[in-house]
């Protein structure tokens, strides 16, 4: 059995309730159950999270780097889209 035979999974961790899952890395596993166990053993040894997602890397659809200019450049001069013109109350966390 070699690791190369195992598909790659991407790992997402929710660090605590109320926050979103964040991508933390990837690992190899033979199946979904093993991927959760590996994610637990590799990425949550130091209490990093309260919830895990794993997804087959092959199932992720990515944007084409060659299209980056067309996709992202047009947003550059639209500064009015940033919410920087509002005062944020101190009580609002995690915005």
């Amino acid at each position: 059995m070699s690791e190369a035979d195992w598909p790659l999974f991407e790992v997402f961790i929710r660090s605590r309730s109320g926050l979103e899952h964040k991508h933390v890395g990837s690992l190899h596993a033979a199946d979904a159950r093993m991927a959760i166990e590996h994610a637990r053993d590799v990425y949550t040894r130091r209490q990093e999270g309260v919830s895990l997602w794993v997804v087959r890397s092959a199932d992720i659809v990515a944007s084409d780097p060659g299209e980056a200019e067309a996709l992202f450049e047009p947003a550059r001069d639209k500064v009015y889209r940033h919410p920087t013109f509002y005062a944020i109350p101190e009580e609002v966390k995690n915005l």
Partner: protein, 264 residues
């Protein structure tokens, strides 16, 4: 005729001696199994499994530390966890014989782990309600870890059993090799009986049927065949071991034996 103070004192002493031995057996089983798993570090089939086995190992050694510390206090001769772990010889170790069996291949490691995980699940579930509150607290902590250990080991058992012809053949062969050590898991002696009479521990015989049901369920899912019963009860928990324990201890204790009291 009522008991004289001397008779009561003798009974109390025997009770405390039994409690010490009972806790020491739990401790040694976790310690020896943890040490065995540690032998995989750097050699596991994949990086992720290397970490998984190391995590299990550290859980078990953590349990052993709590139990050894408690055993040392019960004994009252000033031995701490380190003295008990590193300065006893094989005949003084009282772990289950199954725990000391060699790693062999990954299949043997998984079968050994799974059989003991299922046993620890039953025993810790009941010890959580022990009248000995210290033991109950240790069991409650260990139980959370053991539930994960069982998930891990039973997952692998099914994956290998219901996997390729090669993985099926090898894990069935590991099961056939190790099954002979399982009668000891449920064979009570005077220590177990004293503890169950005092409400400190469950009667060992009470664990056999739920353990067996759990084992059969996983074997079905793994398409594996339960080996025939083998009546000989091994006596690791009485200090009579297979030849493998001595080699394990030589490696585990080498540093403290060579440099007594070494710290870093």
């Amino acid at each position: 005729m009522s008991a004289t103070p001397a008779m009561r004192k003798a009974a109390d002493t025997a009770h405390e001696e039994a409690r010490f031995r009972y806790v020491l057996r739990l401790a040694d089983t976790s310690l020896v199994l943890g040490q065995r798993l540690g032998e995989w570090i750097g050699r596991a089939p994949a990086l992720e499994e290397d970490l998984a086995l190391a995590n299990l190992s550290l859980d078990l050694i953590g349990q052993a530390r709590l139990l050894l510390t408690y055993a040392g206090e019960l004994e009252g001769r000033g031995r701490d966890e380190d003295a008990l772990a590193f300065l006893r010889d094989a005949p003084e170790f009282v772990n289950l014989t199954l725990a000391e069996q060699p790693n062999d291949d990954f299949g043997h490691t998984i079968v050994r782990q799974w059989l003991i995980d299922a046993w620890q699940l039953e025993i810790y579930t009941r010890l959580e309600h022990s009248t000995d509150t210290r033991l109950a607290a240790i069991a409650a902590k260990a139980l959370r870890e053991t539930r994960y250990h069982y998930r891990f080991s039973s997952g692998w058992l099914v994956r290998l059993g219901d996997g390729t012809p090669e993985s099926h053949r090898r894990i069935q062969s590991a099961l056939d090799d190790l099954w002979r050590f399982t009668p000891e898991l449920f064979a009570p002696d005077e220590v177990d009986e004293r503890m169950s009479d005092a409400g400190i521990a469950p009667p060992l015989t009470e664990l056999a049927s739920p353990w067996s049901a759990r084992i059969d369920e996983a074997l079905r899912a793994a398409t594996l065949t339960r080996p025939a019963s083998q009546p000989y009860p091994w006596h690791g928990k009485r200090g009579v071991h297979t030849e493998h324990l001595g080699h394990l201890l030589a490696e585990m204790q080498h540093l403290q034996r060579t440099y007594p009291g070494a710290r870093w």
